[in-house]
């Protein structure tokens, strides 16, 4: 029988990383991620985890260290968020470019200015084109489970792409929830064998890593990354299915509630998915045909699976917890709209921007969002392509 304990999201990450038997950890403290590496630091200090803990002077160095370490075949981990992720930006592209299977937890936090420490997705969304796989967790159990899946996906020889596990700052990082643990033996069997990288750096077999590629070869290396992302689209559902088997917890690329006959479906990333589902359940009891979908995989975008799941809806509401300044709408909205452009039956798709800088989305607001969607379904008209929920004028 698997152990059940109470863990915060940050602790859940640390416990899972420990069970993944990582070899090298490097991170720089930043709220609300700090508890992750503090906990890992304790594990290393008390001998529970045999890993090299590198104390770096910045996030830029943290990601550089783990990227290089991954190329030696080590299993590596780092964590950051917000300004720290922004400081890593240069290295993000290098990590994916050299195909280092790094796993990083991103404790989603709003970007400055104004300075803020609470949840929104502006940090990880800014990195959506950096060649990293992005997973978003809805609750602490998912946070814990996704770490195992992240290594399984990142280290797959057909993929070899760095992977972010995103968890909403404070809402998940600092909230204590019930977590069913995986037995060490089960975890060990689930994870890929080491070395994690097929051409580990070694003195016996010298090679050049991170070399120059000018106009004659650069494009080819980028195509390889695109190909790996496409392959990840097949590897991810398999990794999730396999995890479902070993854990007994159902995993797919998204978690859907009552979408089969729903007129209105909300699509959200992260903890908001839970709020939407709970409110949808309440509205269903009152006879409203609404459903909710929490997207667990954002990059690569699970286009085909989403198309199939959402095509019955009259209205799709994309829930963007970020702003794409000057764009038509938020990133999730634009992806969903693009997805349905060629569809025979196109649902009406509108954007909901909410929760910036950690602003709560209340159940009353969630209810109003569904009602707004039902109004669109009834009238066949979208009054505001992008609706900003919860902001004062």
């Amino acid at each position: 029988m698997a152990k059940v304990i109470g863990l915060t999201g940050d602790e859940a990450v640390a416990y899972a990383v420990k069970q993944c038997d990582v070899d090298v950890i490097a991170a720089y403290p930043i709220t609300p991620q700090t508890v992750i590496v503090e906990t890992l630091g304790e594990f290393v200090a008390n001998g529970e985890l045999d890993a090299e803990m590198v104390h770096v002077e910045s996030e830029h160095s943290a990601l550089s260290v783990v990227t290089a370490a991954a190329l030696t075949g080590a299993r590596v981990f780092t964590a950051t968020c917000s300004q720290g992720l922004a400081l890593m930006f240069e290295i993000l592209y290098i990590t994916s470019g050299v195909r280092a299977p790094v796993v990083m937890a991103v404790a989603n936090r709003a970007l400055s200015a104004p300075i803020n420490i609470h949840a929104d997705h502006s940090d990880s969304m800014g990195a959506r084109d950096s060649g990293w796989i992005q997973l978003y967790a809805e609750n602490v159990q998912e946070v814990y489970d996704m770490i195992f899946m992240a290594y399984k996906i990142a280290e797959n020889r057909d993929v070899l792409l760095p992977t972010m596990v995103c968890l909403d700052g404070f809402t998940l990082t600092h909230t204590l929830e019930r977590v069913e643990m995986l037995d060490d033996e089960v975890a060990k069997k689930y994870l890929p064998p080491k070395p994690t990288y097929p051409y580990p750096i070694s003195a016996e077999k010298p090679a050049t890593y991170g070399s120059l590629a000018l106009p004659d070869y650069y494009f080819e290396f980028k195509m390889q990354q695109q190909d790996a992302m496409n392959k990840a689209k097949e590897v991810i559902p398999k990794a999730m299915e396999e995890f479902s088997k070993v854990s007994g917890r159902e995993y797919d690329q998204f978690k859907a509630y009552a979408i089969e006959d729903a007129d209105v479906i909300t699509v959200a990333l992260g903890s908001t998915g839970g709020t939407m589902r709970s409110v949808a359940r309440e509205l269903r009891k009152q006879g409203y045909k609404v459903g909710s979908l929490t997207l667990r995989v954002y990059r690569p975008f699970p286009a085909e699976a989403l198309m199939e799941a959402l095509s019955g809806a009259k209205v799709i509401l994309a829930m963007d917890r970020t702003l794409s300044f000057g764009a038509i709408g938020g990133p999730l909205f634009e992806d969903l709209r693009t997805l349905f452009y060629d569809a025979e039956k196109r649902p009406l798709i509108a954007d909901i921007v909410y929760g910036l800088g950690g602003r709560d989305l209340t159940p009353a607001e969630a209810k109003a969002i569904f009602k707004y969607g039902l109004e669109i379904a009834k009238s066949g008209r979208i009054p505001e392509l992008v609706k900003y929920v919860g902001v004062r004028e």
Partner: protein, 98 residues
């Protein structure tokens, strides 16, 4: 130049699996001035060999002694550090006409 390969045919992530590939890159054609050694003046102290940032000075060594100093023009970029460091002014930079 050899035929360019497609993305399915090259190792991933910019790895070059054979060591020493930089040796094949002709950096000598970056040069505007080339260093020329006056072997009569050269005392074969080897300072230029240690200062050359590109490993483009070659030494011929016999019985632990330097008997000849030469320049590898295939790789020398013409930075002139050797000219500056030579204690007996045996190296002169000469403009190349290409």
């Amino acid at each position: 130049m050899s035929k360019l390969l497609g993305w399915r045919k090259i190792p991933i992530g910019t790895i070059i699996l054979e060591a020493g590939s930089t040796f094949e890159v002709r950096t000598g054609d970056w040069r505007t001035f080339k260093p020329v050694i006056d072997h009569n003046k050269c005392t074969r102290c080897g300072l230029c060999y240690y200062y050359c940032p590109d490993g483009s000075i070659t030494l011929e060594v016999k019985d632990g002694k330097i008997v000849k100093v030469d320049i590898d023009y295939y790789h020398c970029k013409g930075c002139a550090i050797c000219e500056g460091i030579c204690p007996v002014k045996a190296i002169t930079m000469v403009e190349e006409v290409k």
